[in-house]
Protein backbone atom coordinates (compact mmCIF):
# COMPACT_ATOMS: atom_id res chain seq x y z
CA UNK A 1 0.00 0.00 0.00
CA UNK A 2 1.33 3.42 -0.83
CA UNK A 3 0.00 6.90 -0.41
CA UNK A 4 2.18 9.19 -2.43
CA UNK A 5 2.56 12.54 -0.81
CA UNK A 6 1.75 11.27 2.66
CA UNK A 7 4.38 12.61 4.98
CA UNK A 8 3.63 10.42 7.96
CA UNK A 9 5.09 6.95 7.91
CA UNK A 10 2.49 4.25 7.73
CA UNK A 11 3.06 1.36 10.02
CA UNK A 12 1.66 -1.78 8.47
CA UNK A 13 0.46 -4.77 10.36
CA UNK A 14 1.85 -8.14 9.39
CA UNK A 15 -0.43 -9.83 6.89
CA UNK A 16 -2.38 -12.76 8.32
CA UNK A 17 -2.73 -15.78 6.11
CA UNK A 18 -6.52 -15.61 5.73
CA UNK A 19 -7.78 -13.66 2.69
CA UNK A 20 -9.24 -10.26 3.44
CA UNK A 21 -13.00 -10.11 3.99
CA UNK A 22 -12.86 -6.54 2.76
CA UNK A 23 -10.33 -4.90 0.49
CA UNK A 24 -10.61 -1.25 -0.45
CA UNK A 25 -8.32 -0.04 -3.22
CA UNK A 26 -7.50 3.62 -3.94
CA UNK A 27 -10.84 4.99 -2.81
CA UNK A 28 -11.67 8.55 -3.66
CA UNK A 29 -14.86 10.35 -2.75
CA UNK A 30 -15.60 14.01 -3.39
CA UNK A 31 -18.61 16.12 -2.55
CA UNK A 32 -20.11 19.30 -3.91
CA UNK A 33 -19.10 18.58 -7.51
CA UNK A 34 -15.53 17.83 -6.59
CA UNK A 35 -15.06 20.92 -4.42
CA UNK A 36 -14.65 18.86 -1.24
CA UNK A 37 -12.38 15.86 -1.29
CA UNK A 38 -13.60 13.80 1.63
CA UNK A 39 -11.51 10.76 0.86
CA UNK A 40 -8.39 10.62 -1.26
CA UNK A 41 -6.60 7.48 -2.42
CA UNK A 42 -7.47 5.32 0.56
CA UNK A 43 -6.61 1.65 0.53
CA UNK A 44 -7.42 -0.71 3.36
CA UNK A 45 -7.77 -4.38 4.09
CA UNK A 46 -9.87 -5.90 6.83
CA UNK A 47 -9.52 -9.57 7.70
CA UNK A 48 -12.18 -11.89 9.06
CA UNK A 49 -12.55 -11.58 12.79
CA UNK A 50 -10.55 -8.38 12.96
CA UNK A 51 -11.53 -5.52 15.29
CA UNK A 52 -10.56 -2.21 13.69
CA UNK A 53 -10.99 1.26 15.13
CA UNK A 54 -11.01 4.29 12.84
CA UNK A 55 -9.91 7.57 14.38
CA UNK A 56 -9.31 11.06 13.14
CA UNK A 57 -10.46 14.61 13.58
CA UNK A 58 -13.92 15.76 12.70
CA UNK A 59 -14.18 16.07 8.95
CA UNK A 60 -11.23 13.77 8.29
CA UNK A 61 -13.42 11.40 6.25
CA UNK A 62 -14.21 8.62 8.73
CA UNK A 63 -17.94 8.41 8.03
CA UNK A 64 -17.32 8.75 4.32
CA UNK A 65 -15.00 5.75 4.45
CA UNK A 66 -17.35 3.66 6.57
CA UNK A 67 -20.28 4.41 4.26
CA UNK A 68 -18.24 3.25 1.30
CA UNK A 69 -17.15 0.08 3.09
CA UNK A 70 -20.77 -0.66 4.01
CA UNK A 71 -22.07 -0.05 0.47
CA UNK A 72 -24.23 2.83 1.61
CA UNK A 73 -22.40 4.96 -0.93
CA UNK A 74 -20.27 4.41 -4.01
CA UNK A 75 -16.74 5.81 -4.47
CA UNK A 76 -15.89 8.20 -7.31
CA UNK A 77 -12.76 6.21 -7.92
CA UNK A 78 -11.37 2.96 -6.62
CA UNK A 79 -12.94 -0.34 -5.84
CA UNK A 80 -14.10 -2.29 -2.82
CA UNK A 81 -13.92 -6.05 -2.80
CA UNK A 82 -16.09 -7.88 -0.30
CA UNK A 83 -15.09 -11.51 0.11
CA UNK A 84 -13.28 -11.13 -3.17
CA UNK A 85 -16.20 -9.69 -5.13
CA UNK A 86 -16.20 -6.12 -6.45
CA UNK A 87 -19.08 -4.08 -4.98
CA UNK A 88 -19.30 -2.05 -8.19
CA UNK A 89 -20.39 -5.25 -9.93
CA UNK A 90 -23.08 -5.96 -7.33
CA UNK A 91 -26.49 -5.55 -8.93
CA UNK A 92 -28.35 -4.99 -5.68
CA UNK A 93 -26.49 -3.17 -2.92
CA UNK A 94 -29.65 -3.08 -0.78
CA UNK A 95 -29.72 -6.82 -0.44
CA UNK A 96 -25.95 -6.90 0.02
CA UNK A 97 -26.30 -4.52 2.98
CA UNK A 98 -29.26 -6.44 4.34
CA UNK A 99 -27.49 -9.79 4.26
CA UNK A 100 -23.81 -9.06 4.87
CA UNK A 101 -23.50 -5.82 6.85
CA UNK A 102 -24.75 -4.75 10.24
CA UNK A 103 -24.83 -1.01 10.87
CA UNK A 104 -24.72 0.71 14.24
CA UNK A 105 -25.17 4.49 14.33
CA UNK A 106 -24.33 7.16 16.86
CA UNK A 107 -27.99 8.17 17.18
CA UNK A 108 -29.29 4.57 17.16
CA UNK A 109 -31.96 5.30 14.52
CA UNK A 110 -34.55 2.99 16.01
CA UNK A 111 -38.09 3.29 14.71
CA UNK A 112 -39.85 5.20 17.50
CA UNK A 113 -43.20 3.49 16.98
CA UNK A 114 -41.86 -0.03 17.29
CA UNK A 115 -40.87 -1.87 20.46
CA UNK A 116 -37.42 -3.35 21.01
CA UNK A 117 -38.40 -6.78 19.73
CA UNK A 118 -40.15 -5.25 16.72
CA UNK A 119 -37.21 -3.01 15.84
CA UNK A 120 -34.88 -6.00 15.86
CA UNK A 121 -37.12 -7.78 13.36
CA UNK A 122 -37.02 -4.98 10.79
CA UNK A 123 -33.99 -6.24 8.81
CA UNK A 124 -35.41 -9.77 8.78
CA UNK A 125 -38.11 -8.70 6.31
CA UNK A 126 -35.37 -8.94 3.69
CA UNK A 127 -34.68 -12.50 4.76
CA UNK A 128 -36.33 -15.91 4.61
CA UNK A 129 -37.83 -16.12 8.12
CA UNK A 130 -41.56 -16.32 8.80
CA UNK A 131 -43.15 -14.07 11.43
CA UNK A 132 -42.82 -16.58 14.27
CA UNK A 133 -39.20 -17.30 13.45
CA UNK A 134 -38.53 -13.58 13.23
CA UNK A 135 -39.92 -13.00 16.72
CA UNK A 136 -37.97 -15.97 18.11
CA UNK A 137 -34.74 -14.77 16.59
CA UNK A 138 -35.31 -11.20 17.79
CA UNK A 139 -35.86 -12.55 21.31
CA UNK A 140 -32.60 -14.48 21.11
CA UNK A 141 -30.69 -11.45 19.87
CA UNK A 142 -32.08 -9.26 22.62
CA UNK A 143 -30.98 -11.89 25.08
CA UNK A 144 -27.45 -11.68 23.67
CA UNK A 145 -27.44 -7.92 24.33
CA UNK A 146 -28.90 -8.52 27.83
CA UNK A 147 -32.26 -6.95 27.10
CA UNK A 148 -34.54 -9.96 27.48
CA UNK A 149 -36.46 -7.98 30.12
CA UNK A 150 -37.13 -5.04 27.75
CA UNK A 151 -38.66 -6.82 24.75
CA UNK A 152 -41.87 -4.81 24.60
CA UNK A 153 -40.53 -1.38 25.48
CA UNK A 154 -40.65 1.45 22.97
CA UNK A 155 -37.33 3.24 22.36
CA UNK A 156 -38.64 6.20 24.36
CA UNK A 157 -39.08 3.92 27.35
CA UNK A 158 -35.47 2.72 27.21
CA UNK A 159 -32.27 4.32 28.48
CA UNK A 160 -29.87 5.51 25.77
CA UNK A 161 -27.53 2.64 26.52
CA UNK A 162 -30.37 0.16 26.16
CA UNK A 163 -31.39 1.79 22.90
CA UNK A 164 -27.93 1.32 21.48
CA UNK A 165 -27.97 -2.32 22.52
CA UNK A 166 -31.30 -2.79 20.73
CA UNK A 167 -29.67 -1.22 17.66
CA UNK A 168 -26.78 -3.66 17.94
CA UNK A 169 -29.21 -6.57 18.19
CA UNK A 170 -30.91 -5.22 15.07
CA UNK A 171 -27.55 -5.01 13.29
CA UNK A 172 -27.05 -8.71 14.02
CA UNK A 173 -30.51 -9.69 12.74
CA UNK A 174 -29.44 -11.29 9.47
CA UNK A 175 -26.15 -12.75 10.76
CA UNK A 176 -23.94 -10.24 8.96
CA UNK A 177 -20.34 -10.92 8.10
CA UNK A 178 -19.25 -7.58 9.52
CA UNK A 179 -20.43 -4.90 11.94
CA UNK A 180 -19.83 -1.28 10.98
CA UNK A 181 -20.34 1.27 13.75
CA UNK A 182 -20.10 5.05 13.37
CA UNK A 183 -19.33 6.52 16.79
CA UNK A 184 -21.56 3.96 18.54
CA UNK A 185 -20.75 5.35 21.98
CA UNK A 186 -20.78 9.02 20.98
CA UNK A 187 -24.09 9.61 22.72
CA UNK A 188 -23.41 7.42 25.76
CA UNK A 189 -22.02 8.10 29.24
CA UNK A 190 -19.02 6.09 30.36
CA UNK A 191 -21.04 3.35 32.09
CA UNK A 192 -23.13 2.75 28.98
CA UNK A 193 -20.08 3.07 26.77
CA UNK A 194 -18.34 0.33 28.72
CA UNK A 195 -21.40 -1.88 28.42
CA UNK A 196 -21.51 -1.47 24.62
CA UNK A 197 -17.77 -2.05 24.36
CA UNK A 198 -18.04 -5.21 26.45
CA UNK A 199 -20.70 -6.36 24.07
CA UNK A 200 -18.45 -5.70 21.07
CA UNK A 201 -15.66 -7.60 22.78
CA UNK A 202 -17.97 -10.53 23.35
CA UNK A 203 -19.17 -10.56 19.74
CA UNK A 204 -15.58 -10.36 18.56
CA UNK A 205 -14.29 -13.04 20.91
CA UNK A 206 -17.19 -15.49 21.00
CA UNK A 207 -18.55 -15.11 17.48
CA UNK A 208 -15.39 -14.04 15.70
CA UNK A 209 -17.34 -11.00 14.44
CA UNK A 210 -15.46 -8.58 12.20
CA UNK A 211 -15.86 -5.07 13.63
CA UNK A 212 -15.02 -1.68 12.17
CA UNK A 213 -15.74 1.07 14.65
CA UNK A 214 -15.33 4.81 14.20
CA UNK A 215 -14.51 6.57 17.44
CA UNK A 216 -13.15 9.73 18.98
CA UNK A 217 -12.49 7.94 22.23
CA UNK A 218 -9.14 6.38 23.07
CA UNK A 219 -10.98 4.01 25.44
CA UNK A 220 -12.80 2.60 22.47
CA UNK A 221 -9.71 2.41 20.30
CA UNK A 222 -7.89 0.61 23.11
CA UNK A 223 -10.30 -2.28 22.86
CA UNK A 224 -9.57 -2.77 19.16
CA UNK A 225 -6.69 -4.75 17.77
CA UNK A 226 -5.85 -2.16 15.20
CA UNK A 227 -6.40 1.55 14.77
CA UNK A 228 -6.54 3.33 11.44
CA UNK A 229 -5.92 7.06 11.63
CA UNK A 230 -7.35 9.40 9.02
CA UNK A 231 -6.37 12.97 8.31
CA UNK A 232 -7.77 15.11 5.51
CA UNK A 233 -9.16 12.13 3.71
CA UNK A 234 -6.02 10.01 3.85
CA UNK A 235 -4.83 7.18 6.03
CA UNK A 236 -1.89 8.53 8.00
CA UNK A 237 -1.35 5.63 10.38
CA UNK A 238 -2.46 2.04 10.68
CA UNK A 239 -1.39 0.74 14.07
CA UNK A 240 -1.65 -2.78 15.42
CA UNK A 241 -1.91 -2.95 19.20
CA UNK A 242 0.84 -5.04 20.75
CA UNK A 243 -1.14 -5.83 23.83
CA UNK A 244 -4.80 -5.61 24.67
CA UNK A 245 -5.51 -3.57 27.79
CA UNK A 246 -8.87 -5.28 28.06
CA UNK A 247 -8.49 -7.35 31.23
CA UNK A 248 -11.03 -9.91 30.12
CA UNK A 249 -8.76 -10.89 27.23
CA UNK A 250 -5.54 -11.39 29.20
Amino acid sequence: MSSPGTATAVERRTQPAAPAILRAVNLRRTYADGQVTALNDVSLEVHPGEYVAIMGRSGSGKSTLLNLLGALDRPDQGEIYFEGEALSKQRNLDSFRAQRIGFVFQSFYLLPTLTAIENVQIPMFEGPLNPTQRADRARELLKIVNLEHRLNHLPMELSVGERQRVAIARALANEPAMLLADEPTGNLDSTNEAEVLDLFDRLHRERNMTLVVITHSQDVADRAERTVHLRDGRIVADVVAHHTPNSSRS
Binding site: N67, D94, R97, A98, F103, P112, T113, I122, P131
Partner: protein, 375 residues
Protein backbone atom coordinates in the same frame (compact mmCIF):
# COMPACT_ATOMS: atom_id res chain seq x y z
CA UNK B 1 -44.55 -9.20 13.53
CA UNK B 2 -46.18 -9.06 10.11
CA UNK B 3 -45.46 -6.38 7.53
CA UNK B 4 -49.01 -5.07 7.89
CA UNK B 5 -48.62 -4.40 11.57
CA UNK B 6 -45.72 -1.96 11.04
CA UNK B 7 -47.84 0.84 9.52
CA UNK B 8 -50.72 0.00 11.86
CA UNK B 9 -48.51 0.36 14.90
CA UNK B 10 -46.98 3.48 13.48
CA UNK B 11 -50.46 5.03 13.24
CA UNK B 12 -51.70 3.76 16.59
CA UNK B 13 -48.60 4.86 18.45
CA UNK B 14 -48.75 8.35 16.96
CA UNK B 15 -52.34 8.92 17.98
CA UNK B 16 -52.50 12.69 17.81
CA UNK B 17 -50.90 12.96 14.43
CA UNK B 18 -53.03 10.18 13.00
CA UNK B 19 -56.18 11.65 14.52
CA UNK B 20 -55.46 15.05 13.00
CA UNK B 21 -54.88 13.55 9.58
CA UNK B 22 -58.05 11.51 9.80
CA UNK B 23 -59.94 14.59 10.94
CA UNK B 24 -58.68 16.64 7.99
CA UNK B 25 -59.55 14.00 5.47
CA UNK B 26 -62.82 13.26 7.21
CA UNK B 27 -63.98 16.87 7.07
CA UNK B 28 -63.23 17.17 3.38
CA UNK B 29 -64.97 13.91 2.70
CA UNK B 30 -67.95 14.76 4.87
CA UNK B 31 -68.42 17.90 2.82
CA UNK B 32 -68.30 15.91 -0.40
CA UNK B 33 -70.64 13.18 0.79
CA UNK B 34 -73.21 15.47 2.35
CA UNK B 35 -73.28 17.92 -0.55
CA UNK B 36 -73.64 15.25 -3.19
CA UNK B 37 -76.02 13.34 -0.96
CA UNK B 38 -78.25 16.34 -0.39
CA UNK B 39 -78.46 17.16 -4.07
CA UNK B 40 -79.24 13.58 -4.98
CA UNK B 41 -81.73 13.32 -2.14
CA UNK B 42 -83.42 16.40 -3.55
CA UNK B 43 -83.91 14.64 -6.86
CA UNK B 44 -84.96 11.37 -5.31
CA UNK B 45 -87.50 13.10 -3.13
CA UNK B 46 -89.10 14.66 -6.22
CA UNK B 47 -89.34 11.33 -7.97
CA UNK B 48 -90.81 9.66 -4.93
CA UNK B 49 -93.42 12.38 -4.62
CA UNK B 50 -94.78 11.58 -8.07
CA UNK B 51 -94.53 7.84 -7.58
CA UNK B 52 -96.55 8.06 -4.41
CA UNK B 53 -99.23 10.05 -6.15
CA UNK B 54 -99.59 7.33 -8.73
CA UNK B 55 -98.44 9.64 -11.47
CA UNK B 56 -97.20 7.80 -14.54
CA UNK B 57 -96.64 10.63 -16.99
CA UNK B 58 -96.10 14.32 -16.50
CA UNK B 59 -97.21 16.62 -19.27
CA UNK B 60 -95.64 20.04 -19.60
CA UNK B 61 -94.47 22.56 -22.14
CA UNK B 62 -91.44 21.21 -23.93
CA UNK B 63 -88.02 22.65 -24.51
CA UNK B 64 -88.72 26.29 -23.68
CA UNK B 65 -85.73 26.76 -21.42
CA UNK B 66 -85.82 30.49 -21.98
CA UNK B 67 -89.48 30.91 -22.44
CA UNK B 68 -90.99 33.05 -19.70
CA UNK B 69 -94.40 31.47 -19.73
CA UNK B 70 -94.04 27.76 -19.33
CA UNK B 71 -97.69 27.11 -18.63
CA UNK B 72 -100.29 25.12 -20.51
CA UNK B 73 -103.98 25.76 -21.00
CA UNK B 74 -106.50 23.86 -18.86
CA UNK B 75 -108.34 23.18 -22.12
CA UNK B 76 -105.92 20.33 -22.68
CA UNK B 77 -107.51 18.44 -19.81
CA UNK B 78 -110.42 16.84 -21.74
CA UNK B 79 -108.17 16.07 -24.71
CA UNK B 80 -105.82 14.15 -22.44
CA UNK B 81 -108.68 12.25 -20.84
CA UNK B 82 -109.91 11.24 -24.29
CA UNK B 83 -106.75 9.25 -25.00
CA UNK B 84 -107.29 5.51 -24.69
CA UNK B 85 -105.67 3.98 -21.62
CA UNK B 86 -105.58 7.22 -19.62
CA UNK B 87 -107.20 6.74 -16.24
CA UNK B 88 -107.00 10.17 -14.68
CA UNK B 89 -105.66 13.65 -15.35
CA UNK B 90 -104.80 16.21 -12.72
CA UNK B 91 -103.72 19.67 -13.81
CA UNK B 92 -102.00 21.91 -11.32
CA UNK B 93 -100.13 25.17 -11.09
CA UNK B 94 -96.88 25.27 -9.21
CA UNK B 95 -95.32 28.41 -7.86
CA UNK B 96 -92.35 29.25 -5.70
CA UNK B 97 -92.87 31.90 -3.06
CA UNK B 98 -90.77 33.38 -0.27
CA UNK B 99 -91.58 34.46 3.29
CA UNK B 100 -88.45 36.42 4.16
CA UNK B 101 -89.84 37.42 7.54
CA UNK B 102 -89.58 33.74 8.49
CA UNK B 103 -86.32 33.04 6.66
CA UNK B 104 -88.21 30.97 4.11
CA UNK B 105 -87.11 31.55 0.54
CA UNK B 106 -88.19 28.56 -1.48
CA UNK B 107 -91.69 27.50 -0.55
CA UNK B 108 -93.42 25.41 -3.16
CA UNK B 109 -97.00 26.61 -3.50
CA UNK B 110 -99.25 24.10 -5.23
CA UNK B 111 -102.47 25.24 -6.86
CA UNK B 112 -104.80 22.25 -7.16
CA UNK B 113 -108.38 21.95 -8.43
CA UNK B 114 -110.90 21.40 -5.61
CA UNK B 115 -111.63 17.89 -6.84
CA UNK B 116 -107.99 16.92 -7.31
CA UNK B 117 -107.17 13.38 -6.19
CA UNK B 118 -104.03 14.90 -4.76
CA UNK B 119 -106.17 16.91 -2.35
CA UNK B 120 -108.33 13.97 -1.33
CA UNK B 121 -105.26 11.90 -0.70
CA UNK B 122 -103.52 14.47 1.52
CA UNK B 123 -102.85 13.22 5.04
CA UNK B 124 -104.39 15.95 7.17
CA UNK B 125 -103.01 15.93 10.71
CA UNK B 126 -104.76 19.06 11.99
CA UNK B 127 -107.87 20.98 10.91
CA UNK B 128 -109.53 19.81 7.70
CA UNK B 129 -109.06 19.30 4.00
CA UNK B 130 -109.34 22.19 1.55
CA UNK B 131 -112.83 22.12 -0.03
CA UNK B 132 -113.76 23.27 -3.56
CA UNK B 133 -116.03 25.90 -2.00
CA UNK B 134 -113.32 27.38 0.23
CA UNK B 135 -112.25 30.93 -0.47
CA UNK B 136 -108.92 32.47 0.40
CA UNK B 137 -107.91 29.39 2.32
CA UNK B 138 -104.90 27.13 2.25
CA UNK B 139 -103.32 24.05 3.74
CA UNK B 140 -99.78 24.13 5.12
CA UNK B 141 -97.19 21.40 5.09
CA UNK B 142 -96.21 20.29 8.55
CA UNK B 143 -92.67 21.67 8.41
CA UNK B 144 -93.72 25.00 6.92
CA UNK B 145 -96.40 25.41 9.62
CA UNK B 146 -93.74 24.76 12.24
CA UNK B 147 -91.21 27.10 10.63
CA UNK B 148 -93.59 30.05 10.42
CA UNK B 149 -95.40 29.19 13.64
CA UNK B 150 -98.84 29.05 12.03
CA UNK B 151 -101.81 27.10 13.40
CA UNK B 152 -105.20 26.17 12.00
CA UNK B 153 -107.36 29.28 11.92
CA UNK B 154 -104.40 31.69 11.53
CA UNK B 155 -104.02 34.00 8.57
CA UNK B 156 -100.96 33.64 6.35
CA UNK B 157 -99.98 36.27 3.78
CA UNK B 158 -99.67 35.03 0.20
CA UNK B 159 -98.82 37.71 -2.37
CA UNK B 160 -99.77 40.28 0.26
CA UNK B 161 -103.23 38.72 0.64
CA UNK B 162 -104.39 37.07 3.85
CA UNK B 163 -105.20 33.36 3.49
CA UNK B 164 -106.78 31.31 6.25
CA UNK B 165 -105.11 28.08 7.32
CA UNK B 166 -107.79 25.39 7.24
CA UNK B 167 -105.56 22.39 7.71
CA UNK B 168 -102.06 21.07 8.14
CA UNK B 169 -100.88 17.98 6.25
CA UNK B 170 -98.01 15.62 6.52
CA UNK B 171 -96.25 13.97 3.61
CA UNK B 172 -93.30 11.61 3.33
CA UNK B 173 -91.66 14.05 0.89
CA UNK B 174 -89.73 16.97 2.23
CA UNK B 175 -90.87 19.42 -0.47
CA UNK B 176 -94.46 18.90 0.36
CA UNK B 177 -93.93 19.22 4.08
CA UNK B 178 -92.17 22.48 3.42
CA UNK B 179 -94.85 23.68 0.98
CA UNK B 180 -98.45 24.78 0.92
CA UNK B 181 -101.57 23.99 -1.12
CA UNK B 182 -104.21 26.44 -2.28
CA UNK B 183 -107.05 26.11 -4.77
CA UNK B 184 -106.05 26.31 -8.41
CA UNK B 185 -108.37 29.26 -9.16
CA UNK B 186 -106.85 31.24 -6.29
CA UNK B 187 -103.31 30.70 -7.49
CA UNK B 188 -104.27 31.46 -11.09
CA UNK B 189 -105.78 34.73 -9.93
CA UNK B 190 -102.81 35.62 -7.74
CA UNK B 191 -100.32 34.97 -10.52
CA UNK B 192 -102.41 36.36 -13.39
CA UNK B 193 -102.45 32.98 -15.05
CA UNK B 194 -106.13 32.41 -15.56
CA UNK B 195 -106.94 29.15 -17.28
CA UNK B 196 -103.32 28.03 -17.05
CA UNK B 197 -101.55 25.15 -15.36
CA UNK B 198 -97.87 24.24 -15.00
CA UNK B 199 -98.55 20.72 -16.13
CA UNK B 200 -100.76 17.68 -15.93
CA UNK B 201 -100.18 14.58 -13.88
CA UNK B 202 -101.50 11.67 -15.90
CA UNK B 203 -102.14 8.24 -14.46
CA UNK B 204 -102.74 5.38 -16.84
CA UNK B 205 -104.44 2.01 -16.68
CA UNK B 206 -101.41 -0.21 -17.25
CA UNK B 207 -98.31 1.66 -16.07
CA UNK B 208 -96.25 -1.54 -16.07
CA UNK B 209 -96.58 -1.93 -19.82
CA UNK B 210 -93.69 0.03 -21.29
CA UNK B 211 -95.02 -0.07 -24.85
CA UNK B 212 -98.41 1.18 -23.70
CA UNK B 213 -96.83 4.03 -21.74
CA UNK B 214 -94.72 4.97 -24.76
CA UNK B 215 -97.77 4.95 -27.03
CA UNK B 216 -99.74 7.20 -24.71
CA UNK B 217 -96.76 9.57 -24.40
CA UNK B 218 -96.56 9.75 -28.20
CA UNK B 219 -100.28 10.43 -28.53
CA UNK B 220 -100.08 13.18 -25.93
CA UNK B 221 -97.17 14.81 -27.70
CA UNK B 222 -99.09 14.63 -30.96
CA UNK B 223 -101.90 16.73 -29.46
CA UNK B 224 -99.97 19.99 -29.70
CA UNK B 225 -96.50 20.73 -31.04
CA UNK B 226 -94.94 22.01 -27.82
CA UNK B 227 -96.10 19.23 -25.52
CA UNK B 228 -93.84 16.89 -23.64
CA UNK B 229 -94.95 13.76 -21.77
CA UNK B 230 -92.33 12.14 -19.59
CA UNK B 231 -91.93 9.60 -16.85
CA UNK B 232 -91.57 11.51 -13.55
CA UNK B 233 -88.02 10.25 -12.91
CA UNK B 234 -86.90 11.44 -16.37
CA UNK B 235 -88.61 14.75 -15.96
CA UNK B 236 -87.19 15.39 -12.53
CA UNK B 237 -83.69 14.87 -13.83
CA UNK B 238 -84.52 17.55 -16.45
CA UNK B 239 -85.95 20.10 -14.06
CA UNK B 240 -83.74 23.17 -14.09
CA UNK B 241 -83.83 23.58 -10.32
CA UNK B 242 -82.73 20.00 -9.78
CA UNK B 243 -80.04 20.36 -12.41
CA UNK B 244 -78.84 23.57 -10.81
CA UNK B 245 -78.83 21.99 -7.36
CA UNK B 246 -76.86 19.04 -8.67
CA UNK B 247 -74.38 21.23 -10.50
CA UNK B 248 -73.92 23.43 -7.44
CA UNK B 249 -73.42 20.42 -5.25
CA UNK B 250 -70.86 18.96 -7.62
CA UNK B 251 -68.94 22.19 -7.94
CA UNK B 252 -68.97 22.66 -4.19
CA UNK B 253 -67.92 19.09 -3.64
CA UNK B 254 -65.22 19.38 -6.28
CA UNK B 255 -63.82 22.32 -4.32
CA UNK B 256 -64.19 20.38 -1.08
CA UNK B 257 -62.46 17.48 -2.74
CA UNK B 258 -59.57 19.54 -4.04
CA UNK B 259 -59.09 21.06 -0.59
CA UNK B 260 -59.33 17.61 0.95
CA UNK B 261 -56.87 16.21 -1.57
CA UNK B 262 -54.41 19.03 -0.96
CA UNK B 263 -54.79 18.51 2.79
CA UNK B 264 -54.14 14.83 2.38
CA UNK B 265 -51.21 15.45 0.07
CA UNK B 266 -49.79 17.94 2.53
CA UNK B 267 -50.15 15.46 5.38
CA UNK B 268 -48.52 12.67 3.46
CA UNK B 269 -45.67 14.87 2.24
CA UNK B 270 -45.13 16.13 5.79
CA UNK B 271 -45.21 12.67 7.25
CA UNK B 272 -42.64 11.47 4.75
CA UNK B 273 -40.42 14.53 5.31
CA UNK B 274 -40.70 14.15 9.05
CA UNK B 275 -39.57 10.60 8.80
CA UNK B 276 -36.81 10.97 6.27
CA UNK B 277 -34.46 9.55 8.88
CA UNK B 278 -36.58 6.51 9.49
CA UNK B 279 -36.72 5.92 5.77
CA UNK B 280 -32.94 6.38 5.60
CA UNK B 281 -32.57 3.87 8.42
CA UNK B 282 -34.73 1.32 6.66
CA UNK B 283 -32.80 1.80 3.44
CA UNK B 284 -29.46 1.67 5.24
CA UNK B 285 -30.22 -1.64 6.89
CA UNK B 286 -31.12 -3.04 3.51
CA UNK B 287 -34.82 -2.51 2.85
CA UNK B 288 -35.29 -2.16 -0.88
CA UNK B 289 -37.10 0.86 -2.32
CA UNK B 290 -40.25 -1.05 -3.13
CA UNK B 291 -40.63 -2.26 0.43
CA UNK B 292 -40.22 1.25 1.83
CA UNK B 293 -42.78 2.51 -0.69
CA UNK B 294 -45.19 -0.23 0.22
CA UNK B 295 -44.88 0.72 3.88
CA UNK B 296 -45.68 4.39 3.20
CA UNK B 297 -48.54 3.58 0.83
CA UNK B 298 -50.03 1.07 3.24
CA UNK B 299 -49.97 3.65 5.99
CA UNK B 300 -51.66 6.16 3.68
CA UNK B 301 -54.30 3.61 2.79
CA UNK B 302 -55.07 2.91 6.45
CA UNK B 303 -55.33 6.65 7.01
CA UNK B 304 -57.68 7.14 4.09
CA UNK B 305 -59.95 4.30 5.15
CA UNK B 306 -60.19 5.77 8.63
CA UNK B 307 -60.76 9.22 7.14
CA UNK B 308 -63.50 7.82 4.93
CA UNK B 309 -65.27 6.23 7.90
CA UNK B 310 -64.97 9.45 9.91
CA UNK B 311 -66.19 11.45 6.92
CA UNK B 312 -69.18 9.19 6.38
CA UNK B 313 -70.23 9.46 10.01
CA UNK B 314 -69.78 13.22 9.95
CA UNK B 315 -71.74 13.46 6.68
CA UNK B 316 -74.70 11.70 8.29
CA UNK B 317 -74.51 14.17 11.15
CA UNK B 318 -74.22 17.21 8.87
CA UNK B 319 -77.18 16.10 6.78
CA UNK B 320 -79.28 15.46 9.87
CA UNK B 321 -78.49 18.94 11.17
CA UNK B 322 -79.09 20.59 7.77
CA UNK B 323 -82.41 18.86 7.36
CA UNK B 324 -83.55 20.12 10.75
CA UNK B 325 -82.65 23.79 10.25
CA UNK B 326 -85.74 25.95 9.54
CA UNK B 327 -83.94 27.62 6.64
CA UNK B 328 -83.35 24.41 4.76
CA UNK B 329 -85.53 21.67 6.15
CA UNK B 330 -88.26 22.34 3.61
CA UNK B 331 -86.19 20.88 0.84
CA UNK B 332 -83.38 18.81 2.32
CA UNK B 333 -83.97 15.20 3.21
CA UNK B 334 -82.00 13.55 5.95
CA UNK B 335 -80.89 10.41 4.15
CA UNK B 336 -77.92 9.84 1.89
CA UNK B 337 -77.99 7.14 -0.77
CA UNK B 338 -75.53 4.28 -0.19
CA UNK B 339 -74.02 4.93 -3.61
CA UNK B 340 -72.85 8.35 -2.42
CA UNK B 341 -71.00 6.72 0.48
CA UNK B 342 -69.38 4.30 -1.93
CA UNK B 343 -68.30 7.23 -4.12
CA UNK B 344 -66.89 8.97 -1.07
CA UNK B 345 -64.91 5.90 -0.06
CA UNK B 346 -63.51 5.44 -3.54
CA UNK B 347 -62.51 9.10 -3.65
CA UNK B 348 -60.81 8.91 -0.24
CA UNK B 349 -58.84 5.83 -1.21
CA UNK B 350 -57.77 7.27 -4.54
CA UNK B 351 -56.74 10.58 -2.99
CA UNK B 352 -54.91 8.81 -0.18
CA UNK B 353 -53.12 6.48 -2.53
CA UNK B 354 -52.13 8.93 -5.22
CA UNK B 355 -51.53 11.70 -2.69
CA UNK B 356 -48.88 9.59 -1.03
CA UNK B 357 -47.46 7.99 -4.14
CA UNK B 358 -45.14 10.87 -4.90
CA UNK B 359 -43.86 11.40 -1.33
CA UNK B 360 -43.40 7.66 -1.00
CA UNK B 361 -41.42 7.51 -4.20
CA UNK B 362 -39.41 10.57 -3.20
CA UNK B 363 -38.62 9.18 0.25
CA UNK B 364 -37.69 5.75 -1.02
CA UNK B 365 -35.49 7.17 -3.77
CA UNK B 366 -33.31 9.25 -1.46
CA UNK B 367 -29.91 7.75 -0.94
CA UNK B 368 -29.77 6.33 2.58
CA UNK B 369 -26.90 8.62 3.57
CA UNK B 370 -28.71 11.65 2.23
CA UNK B 371 -31.79 10.61 4.21
CA UNK B 372 -29.80 10.01 7.39
CA UNK B 373 -28.00 13.35 7.13
CA UNK B 374 -31.22 15.35 6.99
CA UNK B 375 -32.69 17.26 9.93
Amino acid sequence: MSFFSIPLKSLLRRRTRSALTILGLGIALAAVISLVGISQGFERSFVRMYQRRGVDLLVQRSGGGNRKDKTLSVKLDPKLRAIKGVRDVDGGLMDMIAMPEFDQFAIILNGLPGNSPELTRANVIDGRRLEPTDERSLMLGKVLALNIGAKVGDDVKIYEQPYKVVGIYESPTVFENGGAIILLEDLQRLTDLNGKVTGFAVSIDHPGNEAEVARIAREIQALEPHLEAMRPDKLVAEVQEVKAAKATAWITSAIALVIGAIGMLNTMVMSVFERTREIGTLRAIGWRKSRVMRLILLEATFLSISGAVAGAIAAVGITKIMSSLPLTNGYIGSEIAPAVFVQGFVIALLVGFFGSLYPAWWGASLSPIEALRRK
